[in-house]
């Protein structure tokens, strides 16, 4: 799967995404590679939100200390920290919709050059639901997508227009892929950084979206 891909691996992508986070931020991390970002925040004072009703999400529990009353939005057992607070789902999405969460780091199936995001549904396949993704991308001021640059067939996931049903329109600010970092700007995507061993030409060749 990812072994033929150039550039950063999953952990390197997560480490690069962690550089996006600023001291003092409240942040929501999606499922998959975004979850790994928590391992790379270092000394920065970052508070992780879990949208099922928690600020200050801690690491997985030690074996034998799992608590069915303490899970994250991926339904995994987790732990609390000294700063942790709990609240109900309406309050949780109030802080999301109200723009109080500084950044969301999410996975994606497709991103378009205008910042449209598709990450919840493939027509004809089993539809599990959007969960909190539509609320997050609509409410959080800075949305960062972390994903592989191309799909398993080698086709670009950065498109002129999304083909899948949308999660939100014009919501993505920055995309971190295995090949590098791109921003959504006027007229298309702008290459901000290339991964080690990757050239701007490699990114252009692997990208359907307009590169400006």
């Amino acid at each position: 799967m990812a072994n033929e891909m150039k550039g950063w691996d999953r952990n390197q992508m997560a480490a690069r995404a962690a550089e996006e986070l600023e001291d003092g931020w409240y942040v929501n991390l999606g499922i998959g590679i975004p979850t790994l970002v928590a391992n790379y925040v270092g000394d920065k004072d970052i508070t992780l939100q879990s949208e099922n009703g928690m600020l200050g999400m801690g690491p997985f529990p030690f074996e034998g200390e799992e608590d069915p009353d303490l899970i994250n939005a991926g339904k995994q057992t987790i732990t609390e920290l000294s700063r942790t607070s709990y609240f109900d789902s309406a309050t949780s999405f109030g802080m999301i919709r109200g723009g109080k969460i500084a950044a969301a780091i999410l996975g994606a199936m497709e991103v378009a050059e205008n910042g449209d995001l598709a990450n919840w549904m493939i027509p004809g396949k089993l539809v599990k639901g959007m969960g909190g993704a539509m609320d997050l991308v609509a409410g959080v001021p800075r949305v960062i997508v972390v994903m592989d640059h191309t799909n398993k067939a080698g086709e670009s996931k950065l498109l002129k227009e999304c083909t899948l049903p949308l999660t939100g329109t014009g919501v993505v600010d920055r995309i971190i892929t295995n090949l590098g970092v791109l921003d959504v700007v006027e007229g298309g995507l702008k290459i901000v950084e290339t991964a080690e061993g990757v050239t701007e030409e490699d990114i252009r060749a692997a990208t359907e979206a307009t590169i400006v």
């Binding site: 009703g53 074996e63 539509m134 609320d135």
Partner: protein
Amino acid sequence: MKKVYGTAADALDGLLHDGMLISAGGFGLSGIPELLIAAIRDAGTKNLTVASNNAGVDDFGLGVLLQTRQVKKMISSYVGENAEFMRQYLSGELELEFNPQGTLAERMRAGGSGIPGFYTKTGVGTQIAEGKEHKDFDGETYILERGIVADLSIVKAWKADDTGNLVFRKTARNFNPPAAMSGRICVAEVEEIVPRGSLDPDCIHLPGIYVHRLIQGDHEKRIEQRTTRKREEA
């Protein structure tokens, strides 16, 4: 007025009817009203519409009511953990209305707060917005979502006093307070009912005004995704 009942079946007596709308608390399998769900299964109430973030797994949570074909329609944000749900949905036996998670929570909170609708940016430009009123505020487009007023709410809390004041535990709070608020009648199941005066009034999560009937019972509290770290990694 007495709120405390002996069993889940007693607490639901006279409240169930075919075709009703039920709001249920819980996220995944955490904080679900498992005793009340079992009692609704035993009562055999049919053609239910259930507003709940998730639909349980095949043999636990709301999945129990799917197995017995008691549910006509689900209003949920994520249903990926339930094979029987998918089978019934794909065969057309079960209706499904996807709501974004925050929209569902706010619909419940609003419905219980006398707010028949609210505008949100969530879902603008997506399938969710189709057929809904759009309105611009301060240069941004929003869609109208309706409050949910349910015939019955079923919720799970950690502790209650006998007046129905509820305290939840950790992330098992989740949808329980908004689900409780959204019902004309709310039945709560708790792990422990304590005498009035023994809960700190400053630390009540949901005031008893929202809770009409109450039972205490033993909960299985199943874990859906058991994730751990090794001690040497600490």
